[in-house]
């Protein structure tokens, strides 16, 4: 199918983009278009004005310093995936992007677009929550910054107000010596995950010292697993702490049923991913 007719504009500044967004109640930002255009092709989304931000000055930048990586709203996933400095500073970026779509999708799709779209099964929102990323937003009242933990409110639902757009996201570098794991269970490479996990793990002397765990594909916003984080502290393969699986199952209690899997399966899958991530992080930190 084809998109229904709409009005198109291509602003060259963020201010123009904000103004164009305000010109209609059903205006939408177009960056990579890899989620929006299929939805428009299927006529699943009602759009009267498309605001193409691909050529807004400065939005396609990827900035990297010792403290983290800042990705502009028009920077493609391929660009970030191939950026060695970004991968060295925030290893989770490359680890997550490898799971995102396929080559052709990543060549157009943007990192910020994935955050604004907030698909519950997407990797990048979970990475943003796990790393404590900050989303930069512009709107009629100026700019503001939103912690990723407060940005994702539910499936396809974010803290963006009407007429606001994401301009950049800042991923802080994880703690020195930590290992970032992005793992998922999906039916086909490149598909959205049935269940997935982003884990930032710090370890010493062969045991987990602390971990930050965020599940995705569970139905709503990226899901912090706080009880499991506590249960994982001190965990080692030969001294597995009791109750880790139960802790994950409790934290992920809201996982939903759909045609691909039951909520129960999703909870068990995330629990298995947590153990797999802990083992792999310990192996990784010993090798380092």
């Amino acid at each position: 199918m084809k998109p229904a007719p709409f009005e198109y504009c291509r602003p060259s500044t963020v201010a123009e983009a904000v103004e164009a967004l305000g010109s209609s109640e059903s205006s939408r930002i177009l960056a990579g278009g890899q989620s929006l255009i299929p939805a428009m092709n299927f006529r699943l989304t009602d759009v009267s004005v498309i605001v193409d931000i691909r050529r807004v000055d400065g939005l396609d930048s990827v900035g990297c310093d010792a403290g983290g990586v800042t990705v502009g709203a028009a920077a493609t996933q391929t660009r970030v995936l191939n950026d060695d400095a970004a991968a060295a500073t925030v290893p989770g970026l490359r680890a997550a992007l490898r799971h995102v779509g396929h080559l052709q999708i990543r060549n157009r799709g943007t990192v910020c677009g994935s955050l604004a779209h907030a698909d519950p099964a997407a990797e990048l929102p979970a990475l943003a929550v796990a790393t404590g990323a900050v989303v930069g937003v512009a709107g009629p009242d100026g700019e503001r910054r939103i912690d990723a933990g407060d940005f994702f409110l539910g499936p396809f639902w974010t803290a963006l107000e009407d007429n606001e757009l994401v301009t950049e996201v800042r991923f802080p570098a994880p703690p020195d010596g930590s290992v970032t794991i992005v793992d998922e269970i999906c039916r086909r490479a490149g598909d959205f995950a049935v269940a997935g996990l982003v884990a930032v793990v710090e370890a010493d002397a062969g045991a987990v010292r602390s971990a930050r765990l965020v599940g995705f594909g569970l139905g709503g916003a990226p899901t912090r697993l706080p009880t499991a984080e506590d249960a994982l502290s001190g965990w080692a393969p030969d001294h597995p702490s009791s109750g880790l699986t139960e802790a994950v199952m409790a934290d992920a209690a809201g996982a939903f049923d759909d045609i691909h899997a039951t909520g129960w399966y999703r909870r068990e899958a995330v629990a298995a991913l947590v153990v797999r991530a802990a083992r792999s992080a310990l192996a990784g930190s010993e090798a380092a």
Partner: protein
């Protein structure tokens, strides 16, 4: 405050296979339909129209993209390459990758083939070497005829041909 103008019709100027095209088109026109219906290059096939099958893959500024997930206006000012450009101009011969597909029975109905070829041609030929890398590279293209193995074989043979060793022993 300037007022930004919006329009339901847009001017598009694209270079496709080295030839310049200028048209005024509806803003909602997909790049795939622009290539096929406006420019008349029907080698690019349209399968699912929601980015799943990969049949419509073309190159935009050297990158493999799904032309059904791009508006024609998004390609304004870009260089586009389609399957029609792969074989050497003015000759009956095929590109090494096309020849390898032919020799290895890497297509049956041929509907998906242009998408596979454009994905493969968009990357450094060194990526045609490792079977694991080939499989990963082609994971965004569906084929319902071949079962993929002959395609993987063809890509490996094309890598050999590219490096001038004549490809595999074809007895």
């Amino acid at each position: 405050m300037t007022t930004i103008e919006t329009a339901a019709e847009v001017d598009v100027e694209v270079r496709i296979n080295g030839r310049r095209h200028r048209h005024r088109v509806p803003s909602r026109l997909l790049l795939s339909d622009y290539i096929r219906d406006v420019v008349g290059l029907t080698g690019t096939h349209v399968g699912c129209e929601h980015g799943y099958c990969g049949a419509c893959t073309v190159m935009v500024n050297q990158d493999a993209v799904r032309s059904c997930l791009m508006l024609a206006v998004q390609a304004d000012g870009a260089q586009v390459r389609t399957v029609e450009d792969l074989a050497p101009a003015g000759s009956e011969s095929l590109s090494p990758m096309q020849q390898a597909f032919h020799d290895n029975h890497a297509l049956q109905c041929g509907f998906c083939t242009a998408g596979f070829l454009m994905t493969l041609e968009s990357v450094d030929p060194d990526q045609w070497r490792e079977p694991e890398r080939i499989v990963e590279l082609l994971s965004g293209n569906l084929c319902r005829c071949t079962g993929y193995q002959n395609i993987v074989n063809a890509v490996a043979e094309a890598w050999g041909a590219y490096h001038g060793d004549g490809g595999s022993d074809d007895g």
